[in-house]
């Protein structure tokens, strides 16, 4: 429940003023419909106002409509910091650095895929390792892994795991330049170098979905994004930087705890909100290491796409391009990126933290692939395995949130609670009855991802549109799922 001082700005925007908590440098702003606001855990409001106390924050501390309790920042949290006076915080990025979503088109319809959907899911389950301890097929040295963490998807292009179009249709073209693997610990490399091409577990998944005609919201924009035929089949997957990103975050969280107060005089409110000035040696080291994890995650998703293309090619006996396996887009969720934004009437360079939040550039902005520039950046919002997901587009009015929107449906139920309420085997059976064939590495993990454990994705998307953060293009419904 929102605190009593929370002010309604309009139907989908709420503000907690600076007077709410000592030390707040800016107000907190929460984008949500009233039902979504009421469903938010009280810690969301504590966390979003804690973020508002951090040095150098610009404008507001934001929370997106799918916001829920996180570590340090809420998940769905977003804050921009002045690059000269502001901070960088691992808690504003998340442990799973560049956890993100990728959407891939096919030229196939559901009628063509339906007879082979179980075969496809079974083969994808075998080729894209998921769950505890999953190892990828790439045999890499640690030195090669460090190289790819600096080169991102350019490394995949050189090795034959990507085509140029994949890079063009990925946020930042699949490579953040300011990455320096010498800032990454041995342990981080050891945890990650065998995990390229793996999904992981938790809420990570690979899904076969259908764009039904009745779920197309904007046919013209859907066509621009490559969804141009009735019951077209697409693939969506969600995963991140695996153990590598987690170790980078863990290493620097502990490093920042040592200097935050003693060296830089920044008061503690929450150890998960540890930070350092962006320009400090510690801040710069983390930024360069974090960028390696962003790049590694891009590579991870690219290698998974390579495996998907192999599987479809084998099952249908055709070249992947004949099957229309073109990437639509790849968005990041957990990042801090240096961006130029209009703020208080001037163009300013800001370090934009998005944690469980998606960049959503408006039509005409640089950084969007040329073929999409007129309609805005594609935004991929993943729902639960039962309820479906959305493809949206960026809008100009998202300037208010430094062009940031929601990332998913957001949990309403803890994992343990979900496990008590649902059985993985029952859920698998129910999903099959609904026409969704699922493979999982863990039935208890499956129970945690039941649809009822999540917010209503339609309500999240309605609030997102109403708040002017992005607009829906098509809803995609699942027919096959590999649960990590």
């Amino acid at each position: 429940m929102a605190p009593s001082g929370c002010i309604k700005i309009n139907d989908t925007l709420w503000e907690i003023p600076r007077s709410y908590k000592q030390g707040m440098k800016v107000p907190a702003r929460i984008y949500a419909s009233k039902p979504l606001l009421d469903s938010m855990d009280s810690s969301v409001f504590e966390q979003v106002t804690n973020v508002a106390t951090l040095p150098g924050i610009a404008g507001y501390s934001f929370c997106m409509p799918d916001g829920h309790s996180g570590y340090g920042f809420p998940i769905g949290g977003m804050a921009a910091f002045d690059t000269d006076t502001g901070v960088i915080s691992p808690g504003g990025i998340g442990f799973d650095i560049n956890c993100g979503m990728r959407l891939v088109a096919t030229s196939l319809t559901w009628e063509e895929v339906q007879p082979r959907v179980q075969q496809l899911v079974d083969r994808l389950f075998a080729r894209v390792p998921a769950g505890v301890g999953g190892k990828g097929f790439l045999e890499l040295s640690q030195s090669e892994f460090r190289t790819l963490s600096e080169q991102g998807m350019k490394w995949c292009l050189k090795k034959g795991y990507a085509i140029q179009e994949d890079l063009d249709r990925t946020e930042e073209n699949g490579c953040i330049r300011e990455a320096d693997a010498s800032k990454v610990s041995e342990r981080a490399v050891e945890r990650g170098y065998k995990q390229i091409g793996t999904l992981g577990s938790g809420n990570h998944y690979l899904e076969i979905q259908v764009a039904k005609p009745e779920n197309i919201v904007d046919q013209k924009v859907a066509g621009v994004f490559g969804i141009d035929r009735p019951n077209q089949v697409v693939l969506m997957f969600h995963c991140g930087s695996r153990g590598f990103g987690h170790q980078v975050a863990t290493d620097y969280l502990q490093s920042f705890l040592k200097v935050m107060q003693s060296k830089y005089g920044i008061p503690f409110r929450d150890r998960e909100l540890a930070c350092a000035p962006f320009t400090s040696p510690e801040g710069q080291d983390y930024f360069k290491a974090m960028n390696c994890a962003i790049n590694m995650s891009f590579v991870n998703r690219q290698v998974i796409l390579h495996r998907i293309r192999e599987v479809f090619s084998e099952v249908f006996g055709k070249d992947p391009m004949e099957l229309g396996l073109h990437q639509i887009y790849d968005v990041t969720h957990n990042t801090a990126k240096v961006e130029r934004h209009l703020f208080e009437g001037k163009k300013r360079t800001l370090l934009v933290h998005r944690k469980g939040a998606t960049r959503a550039f408006a039509p005409g902005m640089a950084g969007i692939p040329g073929e999409y520039r007129a309609v805005g950046q594609p935004v991929i919002i993943g729902g639960s395995m039962e309820t479906g997901s959305y493809l949206l587009a960026g809008v100009q009015s998202a300037e208010q949130s430094f062009y940031t929107t929601a990332h998913g449906s957001g949990r309403t139920m803890g994992r343990n609670q979900a496990k008590k309420q649902f059985r993985g085997q029952d859920l698998e059976k129910r999903l099959l009855e609904q026409g969704i064939y699922i493979r999982t590495s863990s039935y208890s993990g499956l129970a945690e991802e039941a649809g009822a454990a999540y917010k209503d994705i339609d309500e999240v998307v309605r609030a997102t549109e109403s708040a002017g953060l992005s607009r829906p293009v098509v809803k995609l419904v699942p027919v096959g799922n590999i649960k990590g």
């Binding site: 990650g192 153990g243 998960e272 949990r411 803890g414 994992r415």
Partner: protein
């Protein structure tokens, strides 16, 4: 809420750390008794406080799971020092993940400081730990 929380207690720090290790292992594997002792690892950690020592001790379990696909049961641990500087020596043994015999649960990715506490109440040491999964 992408997390799992547990509370553990013990009459000594060693007992507390052992309970916390077992709880973390149990999140990843539902039948830890199925783990054979094929590999043995020595763990030696020093830290500036006992709570950081516990966090980094549990990180070892996560590290071996990712780096070597090993799931390890704790054999024994010894802790020297108090709540300020502390040192731990431990031995853990286990085997590589075998999806046929091991009933896997959820992949633990990090030990967090979210709602973290470690304190002595009378005769008992207690901890609350939130794991990122």
């Amino acid at each position: 809420m992408a997390d799992v929380a547990f509370e553990a207690e013990g009459t000594s720090l060693e007992e507390l750390f052992t309970s916390a290790w077992n709880a973390t292992l149990r999140v990843m594997i539902e039948n830890p008794s199925a783990l054979h002792s094929n590999s043995r690892k020595s763990i030696s950690i020093e830290d500036r406080s006992v709570d950081l020592l516990l966090v980094n001790f549990l990180q070892e379990l996560i590290y071996y799971k990712d780096a070597e696909a090993l799931l390890l049961r704790l054999e024994h641990c010894r802790i020297k020092g108090g709540t300020e500087a502390a040192k731990l020596e431990a031995v853990a043994s286990g085997e590589q993940i075998d999806v046929k015999r091991h009933h896997l649960g959820t992949d633990v990715k990090a030990v967090t400081f979210h709602r973290f506490s470690l304190k002595q109440e009378g005769e008992l040491w207690r901890t609350t730990v939130v794991l990122d999964v």
